[in-house]
Amino acid sequence: MISPPPIPPEPTLIRRVIVKPDGRRLTFYDFEPADADAPPAPAPEEAPRHVGTPLESAAG
């Protein structure tokens, strides 16, 4: 089994919101490169919210 290719560090998303003359919102999304020394595959940063109940317990 070939191990999956490494994952480049994820950049940080930066938002800049402006309001156009007619009142509509416009958001610029820019990305700050991740620290080159960061680990290649960051650990999950959020707990999954809907992973469901374990199948074993649901099945009794």
């Binding site: 999956p4 994820e10 416009l26 958001t27 610029f28 990305f31 999950p44 809907h50």
Partner: protein, 325 residues
């Protein structure tokens, strides 16, 4: 003018949006409202000479945060509601002549980060029950602008096809304790014939029940219900599989393939959806390079799709084009 009109025959809302008829249609190549504004040139939607990814509220929204009062009076048979919600445009890049398929995995990952941000922000609004992220690509789909972009509709209700899929998933969950799409994914992997490409976190396949010849589903191997619930590794793997699939589509047909791309996530109406599983659906209208599938009598009038191909035959072609078969 814009409002929600209830269709009691089908039990669903129709959104009327009459201003949409004013839309520009296929503007000349030298003016694109989604290109950056160059110094001294006519101003586009985006008032800077360069940008990475931009999201803005649609100029002709079908749904609005402060909608006008309905122009007609409703009643018991025909309820009417203001068309409350949000319609946004997501501009993938400041370069006009490119497509998502031609973009790097890194850019697709950035787009996924933007989708996640929009889902979180729009989904947190009290008046938004469902955040629908999608892309209409190609003149065959009826797009009016060729600059690579997608859209987001934040609906005040759960749209009917989504509601129907969720009801099926809930039924399965109640009966078996398992999520339906997870079971479908297991069945597809056991069979193998309809798999198009896969990596350690996602699988793309033409489902057993495909309605369009090259319809694909991209499904996570873990039961995750929304973009906000993926980790960094999964976001990268999602970008990778989208790149592989989109390149495969274009390679198979020999041109930039039109499609509808639809992201399916849990609703944001405050309900609990333990049976929901994130997935992305690609619906290309092409049967062959020069034949389109039209929604005709059976599909439009009866809702019964007729697919004149079988996925066991189309999937190997697409798999080969994706370079994994």
């Amino acid at each position: 003018m814009s409002e929600l009109r209830w269709n009691p025959l089908l039990g669903e809302w129709t959104i009327t949006a009459t201003h949409r008829q004013e839309r520009t249609f296929l503007p000349p190549a030298d003016y694109c409202p989604l290109c950056p504004t160059q110094p001294g040139a006519f101003e586009t939607e985006i008032p800077t000479p360069a940008f990475d990814i931009v999201v803005f509220e649609n100029r002709f929204p079908s749904l609005q945060a402060t909608p006008p009062a309905p122009a007609v009076e409703g009643g018991d048979l025909y309820p009417v509601r203001p068309a409350r919600g949000v319609c946004e445009v997501v501009v993938y890049t400041d370069r006009h002549t490119t497509t998502l398929a031609e973009e790097s995995v890194e850019r697709i990952r950035r787009l996924i980060l933007v989708w996640r941000d929009r889902f979180a922000e729009l989904g947190a609004r009290d008046d938004v029950a469902y955040v629908y992220i999608f892309e209409n690509k190609g003149e065959a789909i009826g797009v009016t602008l060729h600059h690579p972009h997608g859209q987001i509709y934040a609906y005040p209700f759960i749209p009917p096809r989504v509601a129907r899929k969720l009801a099926q998933a809930e039924r399965h969950w109640s009966a078996t304790g398992r999520d339906l799409l997870g079971d479908a994914l297991d069945a597809e992997r056991r069979d193998g014939r309809r798999i198009v490409c896969e990596n350690e976190a996602f699988v793309a396949f033409i489902p057993f029940f495909a309605r369009y010849p090259y319809e694909t589903l991209v499904v996570p191997t873990r039961q995750v219900a929304a973009l906000t619930d993926f980790d960094a590794r999964e976001r990268w793997r999602l970008a990778e599989i989208l790149k592989t699939l989109l390149v495969g589509y274009d390679r198979l047909f020999g041109f930039s393939l039109p499609y509808v791309m639809a992201l399916h996530q849990r609703p944001t109406d405050g309900g609990d959806y333990p049976y929901a599983r994130f997935h992305i659906e690609f619906l290309p209208p092409h049967r062959t390079a020069n034949k389109l599938k039209y929604l005709a009598g059976s599909e439009s009038g009866a809702g019964a799709f007729i697919n004149d191909t079988i996925p066991e035959e189309t999937a190997p072609r697409l798999r080969a084009a994706c370079g994994s078969g």
